[in-house]
Amino acid sequence: MKSYPRQRHRVLQVVTRLLVPFVLMFGLYVQFHGDYGPGGGFQAGVIFATAFILYGLIFGLQRTRRVLPPSVLRWLMALGVLLYAGTGVVTMMLGGNLLDYDALAHDPLHGQHWGIFAVELGVGITVTAVMVSLFYGFASKR
């Protein structure tokens, strides 16, 4: 990617700075409101990742990599899957079947709530990490 001189694209830079927090916030909203409204881990992960991708497009790969280094991404990818699978393992240890969220709390309703929360968070983390890594992979010339 060509690195633009600082003076140019001032509008884009300012708008991006303004937008990024809102994009992140909206991602979190889609993530955590997913069990009441439209949304869920996958969509939230993509939205969350677009914030980083937008930042990378405007401010360059170097600065984005400082914010979110590839080594951290690798951890996050594995962590998300582990969170998902770990929820399954926990439900099995608590005496339910795989991913039987009823086993997670005394009240099955709460159990379902906690279970889907953890699983969707896992999905969201992994999707964010994978999307940003894909962007890094394509954007960095190697």
Binding site: A85, L98, L99, D102
Partner: protein, 495 residues
């Protein structure tokens, strides 16, 4: 604990894979992957023991009962295939350590073993799930990790081979997904037992027909059945040889299992073979496969490529058995899935040993290998005889059953063509055996005097698999009776 085994079968490698990413150490990640694979294997053994009396395990994920939720459905047929996958994975993983250490940069070992575990997750998931859409999900898991594993080949052509497989594999997977979509539209269910019950009295038989066609073509691609086998040759040739050994024994076999499961259990034998004449699609393809591919294999100069062609030919034998849709034919197909899995994996492991010492698998430079690498050569020769189908080897049991099944149906010509193809197998394996045993090097002397035998950690897994295949050759009755009851289960359909 025992009733959680079906979930553990998939969850063990699935949890293992991200842990390896966190582990990152080359040796420890190998050790951990092997441990996980051994545990998975033990779970498969326990599951097979539980269903060996003909009972069925139905495990509903999330506690949602079957037609609503997703279930694992385990009977004799798929418990056996899961055992094949986890067993071959374990054996080849033990073998892979030395082979991968030499061919792959140690900073990437953990990615390799992570991909391996994901691949087992996908393959075993495809096998034991009872939900049609879940088949697609696990198929994607196994396919994506397979593309990754193939791309680890030391040659740059591995990337092209992997990409080619990616394109064709994605086409196949999309076809399967479209097929599943039509089935869902026609019946309103995704559970395979439920599908089998609802397909006969669906209101839109044409949608079922379209689903059937899409699924057939998609699975023909994934199982590398003759005209659609193009991806397999380069993939087997350029992948790391441990990956080839693993895939040759499992990946196409799992696709064949899905094919058999859909045709016989879900759509029903009567629908697939009675109304739709599937046998007239499969049989010509199968015959063309084993004739043409055996012929082409004779002219190959690279050992891996020769065995890849031979794999397509052997898949032809299995499909011949399937296309008969009789008890004996299906028994032959099931038993050949296992026997060929073991034999071909052993052969590729032997090729890996040769590559480990010589760095290439060029057939003309193999001469007098016996004097330099006696154990590897012996393993190759014995497994090669099994591939031909010499009596007292596993290949004989399955070929004999297949030929008797064909004669039983009055298809003597096809039986004759199988014998012809076996003669070609004698030609291409015999040529290599002759070189290994007898021929003195002519022409420019190849400077390969100093070859030693490969490390013991490569020989032991190779010989254990070889011993197993010889065992099933000598005591063929056992495997035949197991395959027979599996075939019976398939022909009967879901209870």
């Amino acid at each position: 604990m025992m009733d959680q085994l079906p979930a553990l079968q998939v969850m063990l490698p699935l949890v293992g894979a991200p842990l390896i990413i966190l582990l990152r150490h080359p040796v420890w990640s190998w050790a951990f992957a092997t441990l996980v694979s051994v545990l998975t294997f033990l779970v498969s053994v326990a599951l097979l023991l539980q269903v060996s009396d003909g009972s069925i395990i139905r495990y509903s994920i999330g506690g949602w009962e079957a037609p609503t939720g997703i279930e694992f459905y385990i009977d004799q047929v798929n418990a056996g295939v899961a055992l094949l996958v986890s067993g071959i994975s374990t054996v080849v993983l033990v073998y892979a350590y030395e082979s991968i250490k030499r061919s792959l940069d140690s900073s990437r070992h953990y990615l390799f073993y992570c991909g391996w575990l994901l691949c087992i997750t996908g393959l075993i998931g495809i096998v034991i799930t009872g939900d049609a859409f879940n088949v697609f999900v696990f198929l994607e898991i196994s396919s994506l990790s397979t593309y990754m594993l193939i791309a680890f080949g030391s040659d740059r052509r591995a990337l092209v081979a992997s990409f080619r497989y990616l394109v064709l594999g994605s086409v196949g997977a999309s076809f399967i997904l479209i097929g599943i979509g039509f089935l869902y539209a026609a019946t309103g269910t995704l559970n395979m037992v439920d599908l089998a019950a609802r397909i006969p009295d669906t209101e839109s038989p044409r949608a079922v027909l379209v689903a059937f066609s899409f699924l057939t073509v998609g699975l023909l691609i994934k199982a590398a059945i003759f005209p659609l086998h193009g991806w397999l040759l380069n993939a087997y040739h350029h992948a790391p040889v441990a990956v080839t050994a693993f895939l040759a024994g499992t990946a196409t076999k799992v696709s064949l299992y899905v094919l058999v499961r859909l045709f016989f259990s879900v759509f029903g034998t009567e629908y697939s073979f009675g109304q739709l004449f599937l046998n007239w699609v499969l049989l010509p393809a199968a015959v063309a496969a084993f004739l043409s591919m055996s012929l082409v294999a004779i002219y190959q100069t690279d050992l891996r490529r020769m065995l890849a062609y031979s794999s397509v030919a052997q898949i032809g034998y299995i499909v011949t058995g399937i296309s008969l849709a009789t008890q004996t034919g299906l028994t032959a197909a099931v038993v050949h899935i296992f026997n060929h899995g073991m034999v071909k994996t052993t052969l590729f492991m032997a090729v890996g040993c040769i590559l480990y010492r010589t760095g290439h698998a060029h057939i003309p430079s193999l001469d007098r290998l016996m004097s330099r690498m006696p154990f590897t050569s012996t393993a190759f020769i014995l497994a090669g005889l099994g591939l031909i189908g010499v009596p007292l080897t596993a290949g004989f049991v399955s070929k004999f059953t297949l030929i008797s099944a064909l004669i039983e149906q009055g298809w003597g010509i096809a039986a004759g063509l199988i014998l012809l193809s076996s003669v070609m197998a004698v030609a291409y394996i015999g040529r290599v055996i002759y070189l290994i045993l007898f021929r003195e090097s002519r022409g420019p002397a190849v400077s390969n005097e100093g070859y030693r035998e490969v490390p013991i950690s490569m020989l032991v897994p190779m010989y254990s698999l070889l011993a197993l295949s010889l065992y099933f050759g000598i005591f063929g009755g056992q495997s035949l009776s197991l395959a027979g009851s599996a075939a019976e289960t398939l022909l009967r359909g879901y209870p």
